[in-house]
C-alpha cells in the first residue's frame, strides 16, 4: 500500500506523518503542492503545520494550491483522504469537508494531550477502535474551533459524520480545548472516505513519544485493504 503525503510550503508534520504511516507498514511518499497527478496512490495524507504561514486564515492559501484539484478528484473517486490539523483546515477551506475551523476560544495556540472519543467504528480509520473508546491524543493548534451553520451541523450529526469528539480523560469539566461546536474533533464526508481531525494521531504511535493511541488509525487502513 502506498500513500501520498502532500507537502505545502510551510507544512511541518510531513515527516511525522511519514513516520506514522511507515510504522503501520504503509509506504509513504512526499508529493509537492504543485503535483498534478496522484495516480498510483491508495490514499492522500494532508499533514499538519503552517502551510503558507497560516497567513490570511489557516489552510486558506494552501487550499488554492494546484494539487488540491487533484485531491478533490481523488476523493470523488472514493479513495481515502486524511487531513490532520492544518490538513483538516485545508480540507474545509477547499470545501472537501463542511464547516470551518475558527480561532480557539482561548485565542492562543494550545499544545497538550486531550481525550478524544471514537463515535463510529465502521470506517477504515476507526475500525480498530472500540465504539465510545476515549483516546489520548495530542493537539497543537490555534485555530481548531469547529464551526458550521445550524443546518449543516444537524446534517452532520444526523448522518453520523462526526467521527471524533473531545471527551474528558478523567473527571475534568473543561475538556473541550478550543470551543468546537458539539465538541467536534473530527468529521468525515458523507461518503466516509475523507477524514479531517484536529488531534494528531501521528504523534501518538510509539510509547517513547508518550502513547500509541493513534497507531490503530493507521493500522486500520492496512487492514481495510487486507480485507
Amino acid at each position: 500500500m502506498k500513500w501520498a503525503i502532500v507537502r505545502f510550503p510551510g507544512s511541518n508534520c510531513d515527516e511525522d506523518a511519514r513516520f506514522a504511516l511507515e510504522k503501520a507498514g504503509i509506504r509513504a511518499e512526499f508529493v509537492w503542492h504543485t503535483a498534478q497527478d496522484l495516480r498510483g496512490f491508495d490514499g492522500v495524507f494532508l499533514p499538519g503545520g503552517f502551510s503558507y504561514g497560516d497567513y490570511l486564515r489557516a489552510g486558506a492559501l494552501a487550499a488554492k494550491s494546484p494539487v488540491m484539484a487533484e485531491v478533490r478528484r481523488f476523493a470523488q473517486e472514493g479513495r481515502y483522504v486524511i487531513g490532520v490539523c492544518n490538513g483538516f483546515q485545508v480540507l474545509t477551506e477547499a470545501g472537501l469537508l463542511p464547516g470551518a475551523l475558527l480561532a480557539n476560544l482561548n485565542l492562543h495556540f494550545t499544545c497538550k494531550e486531550v481525550g478524544v472519543r471514537v463515535e463510529r467504528t465502521d470506517l477504515p480509520f476507526t475500525r480498530l477502535y472500540r465504539q465510545g473508546q476515549v483516546l489520548r491524543l495530542p493537539i497543537a493548534h490555534a485555530e481548531g474551533r469547529y464551526y458550521a451553520d445550524p443546518e449543516t451541523l444537524k446534517r452532520l450529526e444526523g448522518e453520523g459524520q462526526v467521527v471524533f469528539r473531545y471527551a474528558p480523560l478523567g473527571e475534568e469539566a473543561h475538556y473541550n480545548p478550543n470551543g468546537s461546536l458539539n465538541d467536534i474533533a473530527g468529521i468525515v464526508n458523507e461518503r466516509g472516505n475523507v477524514l479531517g481531525m484536529m488531534p494528531h494521531p501521528e504523534r501518538a504511535v510509539d510509547p517513547i513519544l508518550g502513547g500509541e493511541d493513534g497507531l490503530p488509525l493507521f493500522l486500520g487502513l492496512v487492514q481495510e485493504v487486507a480485507g
Binding site: 486564515r57 486558506a60 463542511p98 485565542l107 464551526y147 458550521a148 470551543g179
Partner: protein, 84 residues
C-alpha cells in the same frame, strides 16, 4: 495601465462568536473605556493595475471573493482609488 488601490474588509458573519473582539472589549473596559461591542476583522490593501475604474472594481470584488471564506466571513470593498 492605471494602478488602483483597493481596501477590502473581511469580517466574520454576524452571529459567529468573535473571541478576539471579546478580548479587546475586555481590555478596553479594563482601561476605563466602556464599549458595547467590538468585532475584529481583516483589512487588505491591494494594489493592482486595471484598464479603468469599472474594471478595477470588478477585479477588486473578484479578489475579495477569492480571499474570504463564505462559510464564516463576508467581505466588502471599502474603498477604491486610482493611484498617481
Amino acid at each position: 495601465m492605471p494602478r488602483y488601490q483597493a481596501t477590502l474588509l473581511i469580517e466574520l458573519k454576524d452571529g459567529i462568536l468573535d473571541p478576539q473582539g471579546r478580548a479587546v472589549e475586555g481590555v478596553l473596559q479594563g482601561l476605563g473605556h466602556p464599549v458595547e461591542s467590538v468585532r475584529v476583522g481583516k483589512v487588505l490593501e491591494v494594489v493592482f493595475q486595471a484598464e479603468n475604474l469599472l474594471q478595477a472594481e470588478e477585479k477588486a470584488k473578484a479578489l475579495g471573493k477569492l480571499l474570504a471564506n463564505p462559510v464564516m466571513e463576508v467581505f466588502a470593498l471599502e474603498a477604491l482609488k486610482e493611484l498617481p
